[in-house]
């Protein structure tokens, strides 16, 4: 099970159906028997992170050459060694810090973990970064991009071999806001999945425009007995049902 892509909310066996959620989530099982959800990062955020890291390295390199120019022969050796360190050690050193991410990755909310969700080990970090040489071929990370695009878990070749995965670091999800909404008893029996959907709508409502919330609430209108209707009143009643489902009475 470890590291294999799963569909959330689907039976383990059987063909994908309408209830399947199209998702890239990778599940890692812990010894306690729970599944940790890892969300692999695709090409775009990784490209941004790479470009940012590249600029950081460029600035450091420029600073090193300024020092080198003053020192002469030893300075050039120093510059070349810094260049070497920035090329090979920079990602390894940052990936082994508690954040598990280079400055670029951290800025874009990414981190490197092992397939089982644990912090990346030194051996894996060295391997995935040395294998950049292979990912870089045939030109400017060609194989890496193809691999990330084709694989469900968005790994480049180095990640596949080292058993690592680049994931989104988790950010908190906001709870549904309660102010100004009367809890309301749902007018039909709701499956756990349907309950979760209604509550999730209430949690997302503050981040959506009023019209969009009305549209979405219209889809859920049967829960408050308003099937076929829409508008701010329906929305309020649907959000009220969400409050009741959370447990407010």
């Amino acid at each position: 099970m470890i590291g294999s892509p799963t569909r959330s909310s689907s039976t383990p066996e059987g063909p994908p159906g309408a209830t399947d959620v199209l998702d890239t989530v990778v599940a890692a099982e812990t010894p306690e028997g729970i599944l940790l959800e890892l969300r692999p990062a695709g090409v775009t955020p990784r490209l941004y992170a790479f470009l940012l890291d590249w600029m950081v390295r460029l600035v450091l390199m420029y600073a090193a050459w300024m020092v080198a120019a003053v020192l002469g022969g030893i300075g050039i050796a120093f510059g070349l060694i810094v260049l070497f360190a920035l090329e090979w050690l920079y990602p390894v050193v940052f990936e082994l810090t508690p954040s598990g991410a280079t400055p670029g990755k951290r800025t874009f909310g990414l981190k490197v973990v092992m397939d089982n969700g644990l912090p990346v080990t030194a051996a894996a970090s060295v391997a995935r970064n040395v294998l950049r040489v292979a990912d870089f071929l045939p030109f400017v990370y060609g194989f890496a991009v193809v691999s990330v695009l084709l694989r469900r878990d968005c790994k480049r070749l180095g990640d596949v071999a080292a058993g690592t995965i680049v994931v989104y670091d988790r950010r908190a999800v906001s709870p549904p806001v309660a102010e100004g909404v009367e809890p309301r008893v749902p007018s039909m029996r709701l499956s756990p999945g349907a309950q979760a959907a209604v509550v999730a709508l209430a949690a997302r409502a503050p981040r959506l425009s009023g019209e969009r919330v009305d549209e979405l609430a219209a889809l859920a209108a049967p829960v408050s007995g308003d099937a076929g209707n829409s508008g701010p009143d329906v929305t309020r009643r649907v959000l009220g049902v969400a409050q009741w489902l959370v447990g407010r009475r």
Partner: protein, 328 residues
């Protein structure tokens, strides 16, 4: 049934406590030993198991996303802290040099032999060919490069093996580190293409070295050239062969995964190669220092250099043959 709100209220204290403990753990700086707060490991473990249970319940009952998410974040970071495996430290590095690295090289003996053959056969073939027909060197490199090599190894040069007088030992040290480790890493990473890349880079570098040696010998510069390369090649050629051997191991895992899936075999081969890569990087640092400060010294008579070369080769072979046997 318990509503999400009741669920949250019942366990909120435990969750808040666990989150606070995890945050304190993340903020800990082990090197500040003295003023670090004492570890509440038993408490964290107990709370973590509780949170795992709550997460399973919350998922099974389809509780709202913010509860599941909070529990997921909590369990993920606790899992990371509890099962974190630190494998690099000063003690480990000492143990690697004393036993693990030479033992790993012996364990990969087959691959090392194959990689050495892949490197040395083209070396010998090209050396003989170019010695017989010196013009063949022009099919490998252009004429400007050839003449710069000739001046690098001419008898009149102060420092052997470099183009201009202005370049210093230190500068070449920096250059050799960067260049050689780059070559070694290419030899390893090429293994990912079913080993073909490793074979190519090993053979290419071997062929180049052979052609250069054959050409310079034909031009009568053998003594400067060989006295230059013999000492540091004990470390450099060995390290590149070892990197190639690790690459061949990775390549074989893809071609012949045995009873594992290809992916499992690849991950295992890569994990086993890490120790070789550490050792290779260490050897190339030594090689760069020897090459920059010892091999290039024009004032040392060749005899001294051949003596040091014999010592270095013996040491390297003895190290891989004997070191750490007791720990095997």
């Amino acid at each position: 049934m318990m509503t999400p709100l009741q669920f949250e209220q019942t366990y909120a204290d435990d969750w808040t406590e666990l989150e606070a403990l995890l945050e304190a753990m993340a903020a800990r700086r082990p090197w500040r030993g003295a003023d670090a707060p004492p570890l509440a490991s038993a408490r964290i473990a107990a709370l973590y198991r509780g949170a795992c249970e709550h997460l399973a319940l919350a998922r099974a009952r389809s509780y709202p996303a913010h509860i599941v998410d909070r529990l997921e974040r909590m369990t993920t970071s606790a899992h990371q802290i509890i099962y974190h495996h630190r494998e690099l430290g000063l003690a480990r590095i000492g143990r690697m040099a004393a036993a693990e690295f030479p033992a790993a090289v012996r364990a990969h003996g087959r691959y090392v032999a194959l990689a050495a053959a892949t490197f040395l056969l083209p070396t010998i073939v090209l050396a003989v060919l170019v010695y017989r027909h010196p013009e063949l060197i022009l099919s490998l490199v252009d004429s400007a490069t050839v003449s710069s090599f000739e001046s690098m190894y001419s008898r009149s040069a102060d420092s052997i093996g470099r183009v201009r007088e202005a370049t210093t030992d230190w500068m070449m040290f920096g250059y050799y580190i960067r260049h050689n480790i780059g070559v070694a890493f290419q030899c390893f990473a090429g293994g990912l293409f079913a080993g073909c890349g490793s074979v190519f880079f090993l053979a290419y570098n071997g062929a180049f070295a052979g052609a250069l040696g054959g050409y310079l010998t034909q031009r009568g510069l053998a003594s400067t050239f060989f006295s230059f390369i013999v000492t540091h090649s004990a470390f450099e050629v060995t390290a590149i062969v070892l990197a190639g051997a690790a690459g061949l191991r990775v390549g074989e895992s893809l071609l012949r995964p045995g009873r594992m899936t290809r992916r499992q075999a690849l991950v295992e081969a890569t994990r086993d190669s890490a120790i070789l890569l550490y050792g290779v990087a260490g050897m190339l640092l030594v090689a760069a220092a020897v090459e920059a400060f010892w091999s290039s010294a024009g004032w040392l008579p060749p005899v001294v250099k051949y003596g040091s070369a014999a010592a270095c080769w013996t040491a390297v072979i003895a190290y891989f043959g004997l070191q750490g046997r007791r720990a095997d």
